[in-house]
Amino acid sequence: MGKEDIPTINEGVPSSIIQFAQLDKVLNVGRANSLWPLTFGIACCAIEMMATGAARFDMSRFGAEVFRPSPRQSDVMIVAGTITKKMMPGIKTLYDQMPEPKWVMALGNCAISGGPFAFEGQYSIVTGADEFLPVDVYVPGCPPRPEALLQGIIELEHKISGWQRWKSPKTKTVPSL
């Protein structure tokens, strides 16, 4: 199994000229409530992404329904599917063209770890988006259900702003017998 040296970036979000903590919080809440994903489906997880954007699951409840066809207008890259080595430069280019602040969501097992393609001797699949992208949210599933993608978006909102749409349910401790 050939191991390639795929460079990844580990920088933080670049800073702006003016920074106020309170203002940044407000801006981040705004950003979290209006995530614009990139229309970018590279494999079958994109079908689930389409379903999430459509009426039944209604991504627009979370302000994230505006799938932009241009990377220059979007701020979330949903890597929806298997990343082939042929597609990887394209994904990198799209990531480069997205304006800051930008976030990456790895949707599905292929984008997380290569999924069913991560076996001995495979030569064509990149085993995971985080080999070359700074992934923020991982949504497991093969493919993930639309609810899972919505949950991923909610988690991303939480990560961006620290603000939670709903309180997370309290974990109940089961009394030991």
């Binding site: 920088e11 800073s15 203002l23 066809p69 280019t93």
Partner: protein, 140 residues
């Protein structure tokens, strides 16, 4: 008091007008300035392809500054000739047969002259062979 042409007419309103103009300017330029101050100054890059024109991720094949045959500009020009023709015929049609020209052939002669001069453009193009639908090769 008779107002002179050289006199500034709205002297009393100058404050309001300038305040309004300044307000408009602030509304136009303010968002740009605010965004510039608050935006992240660079974007994280992997391949340094932020400035690639094509937004579909694939590297463009060749340059977009290529030569190609401009056939339709001639038709655009001819259209302009017809268009001006029609445009100026509307007021003629309104004024035609008006009372002040009644009974003379002057309006008819004038319109014939006008349309005739404008049609010369079409005739010129016709003579030049614009209306022949052929592939033209140009000397480069």
């Amino acid at each position: 008091m008779e107002l002179q042409f050289t006199e500034f007419l709205y002297r009393d309103s100058i404050l309001w007008i300038s305040a309004f103009a300044m307000g408009g300017l602030c509304f136009a330029l303010g968002p740009i300035a605010i965004v510039y101050l608050l935006m992240p100054l660079k974007t994280r890059q992997i391949l340094k392809k932020r400035d690639q024109f094509i937004e579909c991720a694939m590297d463009p094949i060749g340059d977009s500054w290529i030569r190609y045959g401009v056939v339709f500009y001639l038709y655009a020009l001819i259209f302009l000739a017809f268009d001006v023709d029609v445009l100026f015929l509307f007021p003629v049609a309104v004024a035609y047969n008006g009372e002040w020209l009644n009974g003379s052939y002057r309006d008819f002669i004038e319109i014939v002259l006008f349309v005739g001069i404008l049609s010369l453009a079409v005739v010129y193009a016709w003579v030049k062979g614009v209306f022949k639908w052929e592939r033209k090769t140009y000397q480069r």
